[in-house]
């Protein structure tokens, strides 16, 4: 048996809707979270990721299934008796307490003596870069600082597992990116497993050891960030994580032929010689012809060329009317000028970079 810190076995939950129907938030989910792992639950809103988190913290009671934390069955334990702490989306700092009191709350509740508590509070605040802020009130702090207090408060009692419910969504972009790195560092320093919930795929890919992509109450794929991005299991994962060009068609030993006649070259291997499939080409894997003349290519009519800083995003369509998105490095000025004149581009790709999703994976 796997040495997992959290194990979910067939965890299921449905919620009634006001219209008298029911929504499946968790559809018999099995999940193992390893010790010292940074796991991200990624999915659109309503995919069940928050329910899953709340089931682990104890605020949602499962209809069926079990939750084990460090080998102990926690399924029916109330939240206050689980060795799990949460960083809430809006921080949920107690407004009537100082930063120090907030941070030390878990210790106070556990009956730790005041002197010892203050020492640990100072250490925890130090760890999140808020040294000496004990006497402040949460309202006097900036959003980023409040975030850090929430983090210090949640880790001070050394839970076996830290849950983070979209904690960075309220921060501005620069701060968010800085916090992403810090969170990852903190996690490896503490040696606590983190389960991080987000709908931001960038965040998920940056920080995680593994990412679980959720949709419709099911885990669509649980894998390393690279595999999630490069080898999505199905077209939901492919389109939800990153931008994608998907071509659906019939596999024919190295060629995927769509119904309208577009042909995509791929490297055939066992299991994808024939049958229906979708070919995935990420926008950044399409490059301007001329760089490698041996590569297969797609001729597209350019609809729009959008400057996004480090690159141009090219939106176009093939002669057959199929939409294509490509990412062109901003350094390629001459190409940009040419495209703007001719409204045409020849986009090449490496057949080895084409990922195939067999249609049976999509349940088609």
């Amino acid at each position: 048996m796997r040495d997992s810190i959290v194990r979910l076995e067939g965890a299921a939950k449905t919620f009634p809707t006001p219209e008298g129907q029911s929504v499946t938030a968790l559809d018999a989910i099995d999940l193992d979270v390893d010790r010292n792992e940074f796991l991200t639950l990624l999915g659109p809103s309503g995919c069940g990721k928050t329910t899953l988190l709340q089931a682990i913290s104890g605020f949602v009671e499962l209809d069926a299934g079990r939750i084990l934390i460090d080998g102990e069955d926690m399924t029916t334990r109330p939240p206050y008796r689980r060795p799990v702490n949460t960083v809430f989306q809006n921080y949920a700092l107690f407004p009537h307490m100082t930063v120090g009191e907030n941070t030390g709350y878990a210790l106070e509740v556990a009956g730790v003596a005041k002197a010892e508590r203050m020492k640990q509070v100072a250490a925890a605040l130090d760890m999140v870069g808020l040294t000496g802020m004990e006497g402040r009130r949460p309202r006097q702090l900036s959003g980023g600082q409040q975030q850090r207090v929430a983090l210090a408060r949640a880790i001070i009692a050394r839970p076996k597992l830290l849950l983070l419910d979209e904690p960075l969504s309220a921060l501005d972009k620069n701060l968010r990116q800085a916090m992403q790195i810090e969170l990852k560092t903190l996690q490896s320093e503490l040696g606590i497993s983190f389960i991080f919930v987000t709908h931001d795929q960038q965040e998920a890919l940056t920080m995680s050891d593994r990412v679980a992509v959720l949709s419709g109450g099911r885990i669509q794929q649980l894998d390393t960030p690279r595999n999630i991005y490069d080898r999505p299991n199905n077209s939901f994962v492919a389109t939800f994580v990153g931008a994608s060009n998907l071509f659906e068609g019939q596999m024919d030993n190295g060629w995927l032929l769509t119904s309208d006649g577009t042909a995509i070259r791929y490297v055939p291997s066992v299991g994808n010689v024939s049958g229906k499939a979708k070919a995935l080409i990420r926008p950044e894997q399409l490059f301007i012809s001329g760089e490698g003349r041996d590569h297969p290519f797609l001729d597209v009519e350019v609809e729009q060329l959008v400057f996004v800083g480090s690159s141009f995003e090219l939106f176009g369509h093939t002669a057959e009317g199929r939409k294509v998105t490509a990412e062109i490095p901003a350094g390629r000025r001459s190409f940009v000028g040419e495209v703007e004149q001719t409204r045409k581009a020849r986009l090449s790709y490496d057949p080895a970079a084409v990922h195939l999703i067999r249609c049976d994976a999509d349940g088609i």
Binding site: P78, P79, V84, T86, V109, A157
Partner: protein
Amino acid sequence: MASDMSLAGRRRVQLALLLTPVSLFFAVFFLGPLTIMIVTSFLAPGLYGGVEWVFYPHNYGRILGFADPAFEIFDPVYLAIFLRSLKIAAFTVIATLFVCYPAAFCIARLSERWKNFCLFLITLPFFTSLIVRLFIWVLILRQTGIVNEVLLAGGIIDRPLELIYTDGAIVLGMVYIFIPFMFMPVYASVEKLDWTLVRASLDLGAGPIRTFIRIILPLTAPGIAGGAIIVFIPALGNFVVPAVLGGAKVMMLGNLIEQQFLSARNWPFGSALAMMVMCAMLVLLFVYVLASGRRGADVMN
């Protein structure tokens, strides 16, 4: 700088002009009567009503222990009434709180439609006469009232209980009248309560009782304090409820003051009693302002 000075001066004139109506209002309807009452409370009572214009501290003396030796020896009866009134008002506050606090949580969790309906029900009694509502309690509580009749018929008691004309009846009547006053501020703070904070507390290992004491109670305390003040002050001076449900047996400050002005015609003594009530309220308000001021200062810093 001169222009700045003149600007500040203009501001001051504008402010004074804007404040004139409300200042006049307070002067005529608040400071005036208050002054009359303070002065009266230090004058000697006339033999057949009215006042005699001499300094006479014994109005307060009758209450606090230095009665006019020419007329009477000190009797703590007024002090007893004062204390009883404080007690009844305090009980009223506690009882209304016990009713309203849980009710506020229940109503705050209802859907918007039911919430509004419940709030409407709570304010509904305001639309009927206070006297009528109190006399209904007489019908319920009196010797031949519903409660006693039912208990007698059921064989639970063999002699009617003395329900009416007791301290208990007064508290009951007070609670009945003052529930909306307590409910509104309590409800306002309960509805504002951020439940993710409760979750955070549970998540950090605090059980339900601890969470209530450390999180829910402090966060709803402003509503409780506000409700307590709003109920306590009118309850202390109330004279309708004791007059109807207390009969002749139970006297509260309100009745005593009313009696001094209307039947005994001892205006100075009545004024002194009224001043005592006002002092008690002022002390209370002062404590409240001090407490909420400190909270405010915490937030500001």
